[in-house]
């Protein structure tokens, strides 16, 4: 009776049951893991890695440090009161001459962010430097282009001495470094990002609010009407949802322009005079109207699916017990729809904050939201550092909102259906 003595149960082939079970379980675990492995890899490759890459780009400032290392060594000793010494000119000269053309291109693009003009200065000089065989370099470089005698260009290098920088984040909120890496405000005529951030948030919050105000009654009707009518109503909600975004945007232009349908009806009805046609498009009003209509289904669908599950018996019970209809609706029905409101609100807000095609087409100068500038720097100035910083801030805002939401409402209270 060794079995009892050891207090162990054995399987038929003599292995302790515990071990055998563990083995089987491990097999199952491995199998389960292999099943989710493709998904895990997919998320890693398409989600985690790009985000990490984006965050890295937003602080990376090595494009230039690795190309002109010696110049920066000397730069650190320069007192910035007068033009740099012959030694610094000569060092930069040599580093420009020896560096690979593509690296110079990248470096000069980076230098141009801190002072407009570096790009063409380096490019022009690189071509002409070949003619200079010996010193004094300072004199000869200034002869090629008088910008070499402009101390502002040299001072601008100060922003780039370290391989990592917060400069892009500063630019994203209208700040910048001076030549001693002290944080200062951008010159007034260049301050646009703070106002753009506020405009973006304002538009997103308002659109979310309007969607809620419009979407709530619609969803209520959808959930409570008899099937015959609610199906028709559902089609009315879904049909625009299936229509191309551009078609819907352009339709709004046709409706809202000064000589468009809406204004013409008002004039025809005698509500406004012909010369007082309202400016409803190419401004914030147009942006809000068009975005609300386009994002409305994202509010209605989650709300509807939650309302559909609310049993009418609760309301009946409340009314039965003597509650006023409004009071019963407010106390009994509304709280049960909070998961739907949260899901719809969050969905609309997240979509609105990154929107840029619709606002750009209907918003005129007030339609340039933060998404526009991300696209602009991504494609036109190739300032991917600033792009990443703008994107990272957007991401951070979303995470803060998520955290706040979790604290106040609780994330388990979100429901998409």
């Amino acid at each position: 009776m060794s079995q009892a003595a050891n207090n162990q149960i054995l399987t038929t082939d003599g292995i302790p049951l515990k071990v055998s079970l563990k083995k089987a379980e491990r097999k199952n675990k491995i199998r389960a893991f292999t099943l989710v492995l493709p998904l895990l890899l997919f998320i890693l490759i398409t989600f985690v890695f790009p985000i990490f890459n984006m965050l890295a780009r937003s602080v990376d400032d090595k494009q230039i440090n690795t190309v002109f290392p010696k110049t920066f060594e000397i730069y650190k000793k320069w007192d910035q009161s007068d033009l740099p010494s012959e030694e610094m000119y000569a060092t930069l000269f040599n580093e420009v001459i020896t560096a690979d053309g593509r690296q110079i291109g990248k470096a000069s693009t980076r230098m141009n962010y801190s002072k407009s003009g570096w790009k063409s200065l380096i490019k022009k000089s690189k071509r002409q430097f070949k003619k200079i065989k010996e010193g004094p370099y300072k004199e000869k470089m200034i002869a090629i282009d008088k910008r070499w005698a402009n101390i502002e260009y040299w001072k601008a290098l100060g922003q780039m001495v370290d391989p990592y920088t917060m400069g892009y984040y500063l630019n994203a909120v209208d700040l910048t470094y001076d030549s001693n890496k002290k944080i200062i405000q951008q010159p007034e005529k260049r301050r646009i990002y703070n106002s753009t951030w506020w405009l973006t948030f304002e538009v997103s919050v308002l659109v979310t609010l309007f969607c809620l105000i419009l979407g709530y009654p619609i969803s209520y009707l959808l959930a409570t009407l008899p099937l015959k009518f609610s199906n028709l109503l559902m089609i009315c909600v879904l049909l625009p949802f299936w229509t191309s975004l551009l078609v819907r945007t352009v339709s709004w232009i046709v409706i809202l322009m000064q000589k468009g349908i809406f204004n013409s009806i008002l004039v025809w009805a005698g509500i406004i005079a012909d010369e007082n046609r309202m400016q409803l498009i190419y401004n914030k009003t147009g942006t809000l109207i068009a975005m609300t209509q386009i994002l409305l289904p994202f509010m209605v669908l989650p709300l509807y699916s939650v309302m559909k599950t609310i049993s009418p018996t609760y309301m009946r019970a409340a009314l039965n017990l003597g509650a006023q209809p409004m009071h019963a609706f407010y106390k009994i029905y509304m709280p049960q729809t909070i998961p739907g409101i949260s899901a719809g609100g969050l969905l609309v807000f997240v979509l609105a904050i990154g929107y840029f095609i619709t606002p750009e087409l209907v918003g005129g100068s007030e339609g340039l939201l933060i998404g526009h500038f991300i696209a602009y720097h991504l494609k036109t100035t190739l300032n991917w550092g600033l792009c990443s910083a703008l994107g990272a801030i957007l991401l951070a805002v979303m995470l803060v909102l998520y955290w706040a939401y979790n604290k106040i409402v609780g994330i388990e209270n979100i429901k998409l259906g």
Partner: protein, 369 residues
């Protein structure tokens, strides 16, 4: 039954794969009437296409270097030839995103000279990577019906909201607007670049722009300004001249141009670095920029060839437009118009683009009166 469906599906998938395998050469441009003119002038007429050896796949994009940079940096270059703006050609060549071209050996060395001859103000190739395409311009148009009395004729009139009341259509980026403001401020078109690039030049342009504050509707897509003018939303607008030409010649729209103070810019073609068909792409560029191809494009769009030899063919063969009307009256760079035009300076814009875009955005934000 199910089995035969499966077989059919497999066959379709297989066909789709072979179809994509044929499309081994990708040409990327702006789409619409412009791409159509390129297709007819030199894609369909290219030797390897005619013989069926190569199939050219045409893709559209919105300009900028974002896609090219992403392809080159990831080492997965899918585009073979890209049509783009001078600014992008210069930046892209600097950053090593495009292949270098040795154009001096093309057509027995006559090549670069031919670009310089035309243009007057264009100084020949802008970068070592790009071959010439066409000139186009930002030009002001208006609907003559909006002005029953005196009609606007000069850039000054575009900025004069007292004499010619009504809203103006202006795009949402600073290129060309600053040059136009300087012309309206009395700077001779040929002197605009030196004034703009001197100390305080942009500020002078912005000061002039103050006069337009509260009278501007901003557009961001090339088709918008034509609609704005047609619908009466604005009385005048800055437009791409090719769009206006197409509306007038093909759709019978009644727009008038203000040629004075127009801002000319070019379009160039280049090969992304690491293209899998580099040798073929160079042959394609030679064909695409030949005198005949250059002239052929003007049959379908009112953008003028960059090479003089192309213009000569058009002149000798008017009416040249495919509908049987003269095309030169709608071309931005005839000799007479050139004297009153500004050539945008891509090098200077490449330097100052970011900073001026910020200043321009700040200006637009203040444009609510």
């Amino acid at each position: 039954m199910i089995k035969s469906i499966k077989v059919a599906l497999l066959a379709i998938v297989g066909l789709a794969f072979t179809a994509t395998a044929y499309a081994d050469f990708t040409f990327v441009s702006w789409g619409g009437a412009y791409t159509m003119s390129q297709q007819k002038a030199y894609i369909d007429t290219w030797g390897p296409v005619k013989s069926g050896k190569t199939k050219v796949r045409v893709e559209n994009y919105n300009g900028g270097l974002g896609e090219v940079k992403a392809q080159v940096e990831s080492g997965n270059v899918k585009w073979d030839v890209v049509d783009g703006l001078p600014v992008d050609m210069i930046n892209g060549c600097d950053e090593g995103l495009f292949e270098k071209l040795d154009m001096d050996t093309w057509e027995g060395g006559k090549y670069s000279a031919s670009i310089k001859e035309n243009g007057a103000g264009s100084s020949g190739p802008i970068s070592e990577c790009s071959a010439p395409q066409i000139f186009w311009s930002y030009v002001v148009i208006f609907d003559p019906k909006a002005f029953p009395g005196k009609k606007p004729t000069r850039m000054k009139d575009f900025f004069d909201v007292e004499k010619f009341p009504g809203k103006r259509g202006v795009h949402t980026w600073p290129q060309a607007v600053l040059e136009m403001a300087l012309v309206a401020d009395g700077v001779k078109p040929t002197k605009v670049n030196s004034v703009l690039q001197a100390e305080g030049g942009p500020d002078r342009a912005f000061a002039k722009l103050e006069e337009l504050k509260g009278h501007v509707v901003h557009w961001s897509a090339g088709a918008q300004p034509l609609e704005l003018v047609k619908s009466g939303e604005v009385v005048m607008s800055i437009v791409y001249n090719g769009r206006a030409g197409a509306a007038i010649l093909s759709e019978g729209a009644s727009f008038d141009y203000i040629w004075e103070g127009q801002v000319l810019d070019g379009d160039w073609v280049a090969i992304p670095k690491g293209s899998k068909n580099k040798a073929e792409a160079i042959e394609f560029l030679k064909h695409a920029t030949s005198c005949e191809s250059q002239a052929g494009q003007a049959k379908y769009i009112t953008y003028m060839p960059m090479r003089d030899c192309g213009t000569k063919i058009i002149k000798a063969n008017e009416p040249w437009f495919h509908t049987g009307v003269d095309v030169l009256p709608h071309m931005p760079n005839t000799k007479r118009r050139l004297k009153k035009s500004v050539f945008t300076d891509p090098v200077w814009w490449a330097d100052n683009n970011a900073e001026l875009k910020e200043q321009w955005t700040a200006w637009m934000a203040g444009n609510k009166k």
